[in-house]
């Protein structure tokens, strides 16, 4: 089959200006510099200087991939890996520096929910405005108007200016417009981070439906790995502007998590106000679901201080906090003198979490600082032994917790 998106040797170069860290140039600086240059430096020196002024930075380099019609592709990677730049090029907001992209269909990009919404205009007017911005014609919007209003559930407030909307209503209306676009290719960035969970689910459902029923292609970027996994089957893993891997999304997500952890494991202690928090030690670092886990938390006082409160935090790979362990009974109003070390050992008797990689963090409240410290350690939980002889349901359907139960 002919690919719907064909990317060849795609690259995007930015020039980083060292002299002006600001994004724009001020006319007064340009004029001042010109005047300065007339009176100062000989030519050779000036040339040398300007060579230092700019540095090339390739946000994307040598990208090659094909996407088939109907594919739902997730793009993952760390901050600054080039995900957003890629989406920006595909939606033609910015031009590539090298290479070529062939798109065999209309593209609608959803880099933000409610692009161009004007607070003074009513919901009705904003549907038309936003629709036109997303590339719908007026006739098309008129035809789908009722459906959009229905999906958003704000029909009562259609003639109210959107500045009076609650943020939930605002997002719902905006997404309703986006969900009714009919492009062959839909490019979606992080937009689902806003809005309530129920509506998010509705949107994801709509997207999935659109893609399976009408064979639409979706390109999706999100930091929420579980959402990416739910929505997409294939993926592209970007690292420093290049493709590190491509293929099935589940493989990529686990590869991504694994690499993230390797990086974390050899990290230095983290300064947090007057204390330095060491990496958390977990024994063992891999357990079976339902097993016991020992955790050692420690920190060093760099100056005299007192600890007011604290808790151990546990996150799953999608960044959802699955639970905390309150440490206040041990350390409330604990005074620490300079150089003193504090160790806390915690045994979690039964870790009834479904398999996956979890990350541990610490909440601390001290004399001079309070807040969360993330990613101090990670622990892998493996699948429980099944003694029923029935294969478990797929992981993504099983929620967060493995219950201990009996069926009578």
């Amino acid at each position: 089959m002919k690919p719907i998106i064909k990317v060849e040797n795609l690259g995007k170069k930015y020039l980083i200006r060292h002299e002006h860290p600001e994004r724009y140039v001020a006319l007064r600086d340009v004029l001042a510099n010109r005047v300065k240059k007339i009176f100062s430096f000989p030519k050779s020196l000036r040339a040398q200087q300007s060579a230092v002024d700019f540095e090339e930075f390739w946000a994307l380099k040598d990208l090659n991939f094909d996407i088939q019609p109907g594919d739902r592709v997730g793009i993952i990677g760390r901050n600054g890996a080039g995900k957003s730049t890629l989406l920006k090029i595909l939606s033609r907001i910015t031009e590539p520096s090298t290479g070529r992209v062939e798109l065999n269909g209309r593209v609608a990009s959803l880099l933000e929910v409610g692009t161009g919404f004007h607070p003074e205009l009513s919901g009705r007017e904003n549907i038309f405005l936003n629709g036109a911005i997303m590339g719908m014609s007026r006739a098309e919007i008129r035809r789908k108007f009722d459906e959009i209003v229905d999906f958003s559930g704000v029909e009562k407030f259609l003639d109210t200016p959107v500045k009076r909307y609650s943020s939930g209503m605002y997002v719902r209306l905006a997404f309703a417009v986006a969900a009714h676009l009919e492009p062959e290719i839909l490019v979606v960035d992080e937009v689902l981070a806003v809005g309530d969970a129920e509506f998010q689910k509705k949107c994801l459902g709509k997207m999935e439906e659109v893609s399976t029923r009408e064979g639409r292609t979706i390109l999706f970027v999100s930091h929420n790995l579980s959402v990416v996994q739910t929505l997409c089957e294939k993926g592209i893993y970007l690292k420093a502007g290049q493709i590190a891997a491509a293929g099935s999304i589940d493989d990529l997500v686990s590869a991504y998590i694994r690499e993230q952890h390797q990086k974390e494991n050899n990290r230095e202690p983290i300064s947090f106000g007057r204390i330095r928090v060491n990496q958390i030690k977990t024994t063992p670092s891999t357990i079976r679901s339902g097993d016991r886990l020992s955790v050692e938390v420690s920190w060093l006082a760099v100056q005299n201080c007192s600890i007011i409160g604290g808790a151990l935090l546990l996150y799953n790979s999608a960044g959802v906090r699955v639970g905390i362990i309150d440490l206040r009974s041990k350390l409330v109003y604990k005074k620490m003198t300079e150089g003193e070390c504090m160790f806390i050992n915690i045994d979690i008797n039964r870790v009834n979490l479904i398999e996956g990689t979890y990350s541990l963090g610490l909440y601390l409240n001290t004399t001079d600082r309070s807040g969360d410290i993330y990613d101090l350690a990670s622990v892998t939980i493996e699948e429980q032994n099944q003694d029923t002889g029935i294969a478990p349901y797929e992981q993504r359907y099983r929620g967060l917790v493995n219950f201990h139960f009996e069926i009578h």
């Binding site: 930015y14 994004r23 724009y24 140039v25 001020a26 006319l27 007064r28 340009v30 920006k88 090029i89 595909l90 939606s91 033609r92 907001i93 910015t94 031009e95 590539p96 520096s97 090298t98 290479g99 070529r100 992209v101 062939e102 798109l103 065999n104 269909g105 209309r106 593209v107 990009s109 880099l111 933000e112 692009t115 161009g116 004007h118 003074e120 205009l121 007017e125 038309f128 405005l129 036109a132 911005i133 997303m134 014609s137 007026r138 062959e184």
Partner: protein, 274 residues
């Protein structure tokens, strides 16, 4: 499924530019509609403001230039009408400059999130200023009725001069818009240009008071030709100054060309810079 094919490669937008502009005409329409709607929705006095501003300026100018400075009008035309005939294109020009030069920064969220030919944004803000122009135009007829002054038959040529005013504003506006994105402190200069221009253009006085041997220099300001044309159409009291109109046509075409070229050169980087 409709067969659409889009190729993205360096320099591609450049080549498909006018085709794209046509494809996005609907967006152009909607954005102008939004600007007009918001403008007249935001303030109760929105429309009143459009009338009040030229009216008050006209009164002040009439008093200052006619009564105090004792400058002559053209033929039998009341001085107030002489001023107002010039005030119309000038206000349009000044508004268009101010609005369009701020338009891209005001729409930064659109530019960084959606693709469309960026030319649409300053163009639609010139259209918005044009609506103000149309409103104050109605006021001209009220003023003429008040003074019992009949318009001249030259009025039939007025659309031509409106087009000339439009392109002068559009060309200069586009150039300033691009400059304003590049040099973010340029916006401090624009009010100065507008204010300065009001006095060096023949708004408060007839361009006939300028000595003949300086006329060629004076004509380099394209608004001189535009205003001369408007006065000739509306008042018809003195012969059309062909030289100033011709200069204005040449300069406005030149500015439109330079404006579009410069804007397009800068346009590619807008999303990265703004």
């Amino acid at each position: 499924m409709r067969e659409t094919r889009i190729i993205i490669e360096p320099g591609r937008t450049e080549r498909n530019y006018w085709q794209d502009l046509w494809r996005y005409r609907e967006l152009f329409y909607i954005l102008s509609w939004r600007d007009i709607k918001v403008r007249y929705k935001q303030t109760v006095i929105g429309a009143v403001w459009g009338i009040l501003r030229p009216l008050l300026t006209m009164i002040v100018f009439t008093v200052v230039f006619s009564r105090i400075a004792q400058l002559p009008s053209e033929g039998a035309a009341p001085y107030a009408i002489l001023v107002f005939a010039a005030m119309l294109p000038w206000q349009f020009f000044a508004n268009a400059l101010t609005e369009s030069s701020n338009s891209l920064i005001g729409n930064a969220n659109l530019i960084t999130k959606v693709y469309f030919p960026r030319l649409i944004i300053p163009a639609s803000s010139v259209i918005t200023s044009f609506v103000d122009f149309a409103i104050s135009f109605a006021l001209l007829f009220v003023l003429m009725a008040w003074y019992g002054y009949a318009p001249s038959w030259n009025m039939v040529f007025l659309p031509g001069f409106i087009v000339l005013a439009f392109f002068t504003a559009f060309g200069v506006g586009l150039y300033l818009t691009a400059l304003n994105v590049k040099y973010r402190d340029f916006r401090y200069i624009i009010p100065f240009i507008v204010q300065f221009g009001l006095y060096i253009s023949p708004v408060g006085f007839s361009s006939n008071v300028v000595p003949d041997h300086w006329r060629w220099l004076y004509n380099l300001n394209p608004m001189v030709g535009v205003i001369d044309g408007f006065r000739w159409c509306i008042l018809g009291e003195s012969a059309l100054n062909r030289q100033s109109v011709l200069t204005a046509v040449i300069i406005s075409v030149l500015f439109t060309w330079i404006g579009i070229r410069y804007f397009r050169k800068m346009e590619k980087g807008f999303a990265d810079v703004i």
